[in-house]
Symmetry: D2
Subunit: 140 residues, 4 copies
Amino acid sequence: MQDKIGKVTVAVRGYHLDGYGHVNHARYLEFMEEGRWDYFDRHPALMSRLATGDIAFVAVNLNVDYREAAVTGDRLEVATRLSVLGGRSAKMHHEILRQRDGATVVRAELTFVLLDVASNKAMTIDGELRDALAALVVVD
Amino acid sequence: MQDKIGKVTVAVRGYHLDGYGHVNHARYLEFMEEGRWDYFDRHPALMSRLATGDIAFVAVNLNVDYREAAVTGDRLEVATRLSVLGGRSAKMHHEILRQRDGATVVRAELTFVLLDVASNKAMTIDGELRDALAALVVVD
Amino acid sequence: MQDKIGKVTVAVRGYHLDGYGHVNHARYLEFMEEGRWDYFDRHPALMSRLATGDIAFVAVNLNVDYREAAVTGDRLEVATRLSVLGGRSAKMHHEILRQRDGATVVRAELTFVLLDVASNKAMTIDGELRDALAALVVVD
Amino acid sequence: MQDKIGKVTVAVRGYHLDGYGHVNHARYLEFMEEGRWDYFDRHPALMSRLATGDIAFVAVNLNVDYREAAVTGDRLEVATRLSVLGGRSAKMHHEILRQRDGATVVRAELTFVLLDVASNKAMTIDGELRDALAALVVVD
């Protein structure tokens, strides 16, 4: 189970902040993107399937709850998992925790499709790729 | 009506892109943030009320639909309006259009609260501030 | 002469800041990059020569003086010009002024080469391209 | 000696790239800033002296050589050291190596002052602070 949930740690630095001294809300998307890349790095078989150049990973919706602010010196833990597998789309779930107190800073869900680059259409997720993804899904 | 909808134009540059040559999804949040700042710049009476230091504009949820990709050389028009005014929260709506064909690239809604900095709690939006905001709401 | 010096204006926003409430030093590079892109947009004949795909504009050195801090609400004017034309490299000069008082915030020089993509080597800048660039140089 | 040279590793991701598919030159400044923060994290006694709020670490010049391009999937090692200690300014040196082949991608030197916040002037670096910094200098 544990290997189905990716974890990366990010230290909050001055250049991540906004005018209130809090992490700017756009920066969290970079932290989550780092979480996703790291997740795929850890599943190289899946990654190699997606990185042929024929398929593009395309975000279609992102829904982010900002629950707490993070400040310089905070260390944030970005947990990333595949949460939903649909017929032509899937979802990844991110939870960003503040290490000093365990508070949830951000919770987000990203809906994506796998674009068939040749036809520029979302692929039906089936066959071996579906099996590979299905094995990784962790629901709440 | 027109002055209730802010408009800024952004030219897509190389440093906005991701590995597919498309605008990275985190960059759109900066484009939308630029849209909000410009919107508040154009409503200085409202801005001065919010910029006293006693109140912080805090995002609590962001829901973004990514509908089309934008590439280098595209000019994007970011339309920003206040779309919902609730008791203790409100929403701003962004629509990002691609000028060359008028396609909607991104549509997003940001839910925010006005934080009373002293108590660290979301303010009830009432009195003169409510009147000022209510006059700006543009529903779909 | 004036058309040989590009000018773009940037409003400083919260997401540009660092932990001291000043524009983060990496953000100035984006402001200057915006200045360069805008400069090339205004010289389309030159741009079309560079945008064939055979030539890449490659930065080899950047030397930046940070002279003053800029804060939220400042409007910055980024002046961009071609300052030196060498045999196989050239320089662009940027000066970023703060509009409220005319102070120079940043002064920078970027040395670049034009890379011949096929050979992956810096081109000798000669012929028509040299003439086109030479006509744009503005020394101090 | 080794503890006088900070090392952080950065994986190049899609959102770091520019229109050529190479790491954008502004992103390297963030990588180097990460290197500096990490360096100071590892020298907490020094950090606590600098983080009293009375002193600000202010960049006054940055000189960057861009030597090689880095692409998605590259892992970069950012080496950071104090390289020069002057009377009222000092320099930090960064070298960014590409792990796959050991090539130097970027080499940079950042000149900084320690600003006395009360007087808004660069401090003379002397006394205990000078001793602490002097012990960390690593020349070429």
